[in-house]
Structure formats: C-alpha cells, structure tokens
C-alpha cells in the first residue's frame, strides 16, 4: 500500500497551490538536501511530464529550490526561495525535458559543490507524497517520510549482516530495507528505513566498517 497513514490523506499542512507540484516538490528537494549533507553551491532541476509543462504556474520551481535550501512544506520562505538562494550563492537552473517518464511528475536533481556532486530522481505521487527512485545511478525506493540511512558498500558477503547487526545492537528496528547494485562485486547501496532517528555515534560506527564506504541519513 502506497499510503499508510491518515495524515497522508488529511495533510500535509502546506503553502499552496499544489500538493503534488508544490509540497511534493519541496519534499523531494529536502530529501536531496539531506542526502547531500552539506550546502550545495549549484543545483540543476530537470523536469519531466506535468512538472515540465506546469512548473511555473504551480510554484514547483520555488518549492524545489526551497527544499534544497532545507525548508519544509509549510515554511512560508518557500514563496521567496529563489531570492534566498541568490543571497546564499546557490546557483539554480531549470531544464524542461521532453522525454516521457513512467510517472508524470518526475524530477531529476543534480547538485553539488566544489568537492562532490550527487544526482537523484524523485517522483511526486499525489497528496504531497513522494518517492525517490534513483540515487547516483542506483535504483531504489525511498519515501522520505520515515527516518532512513543509506549505506554505500562493497557488494560482498557479510556487508548487510554487519550493518543490521550494528542496528540490532542499538535496538533499532528496521521497517523497510532494500539493496541494489550496478554490477556484481562492485559498489552497492543499502537503503534502510527505520522507526526512529539514528544518532551520529551509530552512523560513525557503521561508517568505520570494513566494507562500508559512505553513510548518509534522512531524519524526520
């Protein structure tokens, strides 16, 4: 079931005008910001389907930008996010894409700073709910509604067990988990949705593991 709570239906409280094109867009932007873990200096939004056709009218541009600046769906600063982006030195660009995607409200976000960059694909499925479909080329499914950790690791036996053992030791319950890889034996990605926010100590414990290369988290 895509929708699991009554508050997915009655909610979110948000700045108008569109739950999918404004609130959902802000959420995708916010997930991107959280996953990048630092302030980006540039961001590109590639818009598909209905997003590409109607983003100006729905405030999708200010919502995506607001999300990347760390604003929530009900944050009034969203309406002036392009101004705030300029003040903070964040270079923003929008690209209307012609390609047809599986879902009509799709955005590909590329963002980065001088050191690194990141790319993700998000869809807005209605009523403010979103899914992240792709991260740095990995296929995945992440709602952004629950705290989660994303672990980049070597595709070898024992990697999953060692991470889940660490979570078990700290009494953290896993609600949903996915593993994907681009090639056998190379780089892989674990996506673990959990019931509570995960502290920094646990993250650094996982990051120190032999087979783990990077850990990021999404908090509530």
């Amino acid at each position: 079931m895509k929708y699991r709570s009554v508050f997915d239906i009655i909610g979110p409280v948000m700045i108008g005008p569109s739950s999918s094109h404004t609130a959902g867009a802000a959420r995708i932007g916010l997930v991107a910001r959280q996953l990048f873990q630092k302030e980006p200096t540039w961001v590109e939004f590639h818009l598909y389907g209905s997003f590409a056709k109607t983003y100006l009218g729905h405030g999708t541009d200010v919502a995506l930008t607001g999300g990347v600046l760390g604003y929530d769906t009900s944050d009034i600063r969203i309406t002036e996010s392009l101004k705030f982006a300029e003040e903070q030195g964040l270079i923003v660009s929008f690209h209307e894409e012609e390609a047809q995607t599986d879902h009509p409200n799709t955005v590909r976000i590329r963002l980065g700073d001088k050191q690194s960059e990141m790319e993700l694909v998000g869809i807005s499925i209605g009523g403010g709910k979103v899914e992240i479909k792709e991260l740095n080329g990995f296929q995945l499914r992440l709602s952004g509604n629950h705290p989660a950790i994303l672990v980049v690791h070597h595709d070898r036996f024992g990697a999953i067990a060692s991470v889940s053992t660490a979570l078990a030791k700290h009494q953290i319950n896993i609600g949903h988990m996915e593993v994907s890889r681009k090639e056998v034996g190379k780089e892989a990605l674990m996506v673990i949705e959990v019931d509570q926010n995960i502290g920094k100590d646990i993250l650094s414990e996982i990051e120190k593991m032999e087979l783990v290369t990077q850990v990021t988290k999404i908090h509530e």
């Binding site: 079931m1 895509k2 929708y3 699991r4 709570s5 009554v6 508050f7 997915d8 239906i9 009655i10 909610g11 979110p12 409280v13 948000m14 700045i15 108008g16 005008p17 569109s18 739950s19 999918s20 094109h21 404004t22 609130a23 389907g49 209905s50 056709k53 109607t54 100006l56 009218g57 729905h58 405030g59 009900s74 009034i76 309406t79 209307e96 879902h103 009509p104 409200n105 499925i125 209605g126 009523g127 403010g128 019931d195």
Partner: protein
C-alpha cells in the same frame, strides 16, 4: 488494516463503532502512537483549515496571477444579505470551499485534503454543516478521520493525483470523502457513509484536470464549489435511504480505470480542455508572456 470500503464498513459494523474510530484505531496500531497524539495532530490540521476558511471569506485574497480571489467572500456576503435559492447551508459550504482554494492559489497556508487543489471541499462542507449540527470540537476532528478513512482507500486502490487520474481523482475523491463524513456527523450509519461516497464519486466520474495556464486556479476553485454542493446532496440522499446500485469499491475502481485511459492532455498538463480554449490560452500568454516554451 482495511484495504477497501467493504472491509472498512464491516469492521465498523462488527465492532459497533463509527468509521472515524476505525481510522483512529488503525492509526494507533500501525504507527504505535497514542490516541491523544493522533487526535492533537488532526486538531492542528482542523485549526489550519478553519483559519484558511476565515481568511478566504473575510479578506480580499488574490492569487499571484490575478486569476482568482474574492469569490468565496462575494458569495458569503450575498448569503448574509439575500434570500438565496439554494439555501444558506448549501451556499455557505460552497463559499467556504471556494475561500479555501482561493487562499491556496494565493500561496497561503492550507491543509491538503486529499490534495491542495481539492482542499476546499472537506473543510467547506464541515464548516457549513457545523452551524446546523452543532458538533463538539471532537466531532469535528472525527469528521476529518472519517474523510481520511475513505480517502485512504481511494489513494491506495485508485489515485488522488490529477496528473495520474484527472480531477475526478482530486475533487472527485474529496467530494466522496466529505459526503461520507457528513453522513456520520448527521448520525447516519457506516454503510450510509459508503453509499454517500459512492453516489458523490459517481457524480464526478470522468472529470478531467485542465487547469488554465497550468495554475491551480481556473477551474479548480469553482470545481471545489460544485464538489461541496455534490457532497451535501449525496449525504442527504444517503440519509434518505437511497443506495448506490454500484458498490462503492467498484465505483472507486471505475474511477481508477477511467483515469488510466484519460488522455495526457487532460491530466494536469495545462494542454487540453479549458486550458486549450482561446480565452484559456490568452490568460496563459498574459501571465507567462512569450518567454516560456509552453504551448
């Protein structure tokens, strides 16, 4: 967890509890939260809705494009000064539904029910029937849980996105949700709520999403107006004992399949229907000028 309307109604009948209570119990169980916690979150949503309604009927709100604003207020003032044809309660629901959507179009704060484009129907009807039924604050919060329970089924079995299923999935769903909740507040049985939902949604089947210039304004504000009036009519029909010949779950399924076959131009792309009329196009040019690539 209930998966469809039939299961929802059966649980309510078996346990002899209202639909709102089924939703509250499920939320408590599946998210491990206390009743008080869930109730207070929903009450905050109710407060947001109330503020949006009040703002829309009292202030002269205007959207950034200038296409919408002030019609909810206009109708509300008309009701105060005139003998109306449709009646006070009906038109108050309509005025308050429009008011909410005008606040939304003006980038004000609203609560999506189930979406922002359809955010007027549920609060519009709630704050209109309130004056007739004199509910407690708790009953008003319950109205939202009942609406949410039916919306939950639609969202999981069909769609609540205009881009995926057209306006029938947004204002149509909201209309069914509101109709079901009005029935419960008026003292109807759970099965009558399902009938109201079925009849209200049937009245909205096939409705396309064709926003002028791609904005959540024209015809969205007025579609919310008619959604609110349909919800009240469907609720009264169900309370009178009228039944839908097609079961509610099958109506929801039909809505989904109609949405699947709806052309892309009529699913929130701003390219068909009213958006493609000469006047619709003219507004688009006025608002966005020639600088955009949009057709």
């Amino acid at each position: 967890m209930f998966r469809n309307v039939e299961e929802l109604v059966s649980i309510a009948e078996k346990k002899e509890i209202p639909i709102s209570e089924v939703m509250i119990l499920q939320e408590m169980e599946h998210h491990d939260r206390s009743r008080r916690d869930i109730f207070s979150q929903m009450e905050r949503n109710l407060d947001v809705m109330e503020k949006a309604v009040e703002r829309g009927i009292k202030e002269q709100v205007k959207s950034v494009s200038g296409l919408t604003g002030g019609d909810g207020k206009k109708l509300f003032e008309y009701i105060q000064k005139n003998e109306t044809l449709s009646g006070t309660l009906m038109l108050e629901a309509v005025a308050k539904a429009m008011a909410t959507n005008e606040v939304n179009a003006a980038m004000g704060t609203i609560c999506a029910t189930p979406t922002a484009g359809s955010a007027g129907v549920v609060p519009g009807t709630l704050f209109a029937v309130k004056d007739k039924l004199n509910p407690t604050r708790e009953q008003m919060v319950r109205f939202l849980f009942t609406s949410g329970a039916f919306g939950f089924v639609v969202a999981n079995n069909a769609s609540i996105s205009g881009a995926a299923g057209g306006c029938q999935a947004e204002v149509g769903s909201a209309t069914g949700m509101a109709a079901a909740a009005i029935v419960e507040m008026a003292g109807g049985k759970p099965r009558q709520s399902a009938m109201a939902m079925a009849m209200a949604l049937k009245g909205m089947l096939g409705l396309v999403c064709d926003p002028v210039a791609g904005l959540v304004e024209v015809p969205c504000v007025k579609r919310n107006a008619f959604g609110a009036s349909n919800a009240l009519v469907a609720a009264d029909m169900a309370l009178a004992g009228i039944e839908s010949r097609i079961p509610c779950d099958e109506v929801i399924d039909a809505m989904y399949r109609i949405g699947e076959t709806m052309p892309f131009t009529l699913r929130e792309t701003g390219e068909g229907g009213l958006a493609a009329t000469p006047t619709g196009r003219k507004y688009q040019e006025q608002i966005f000028g020639a600088s955009t690539k949009k057709v």
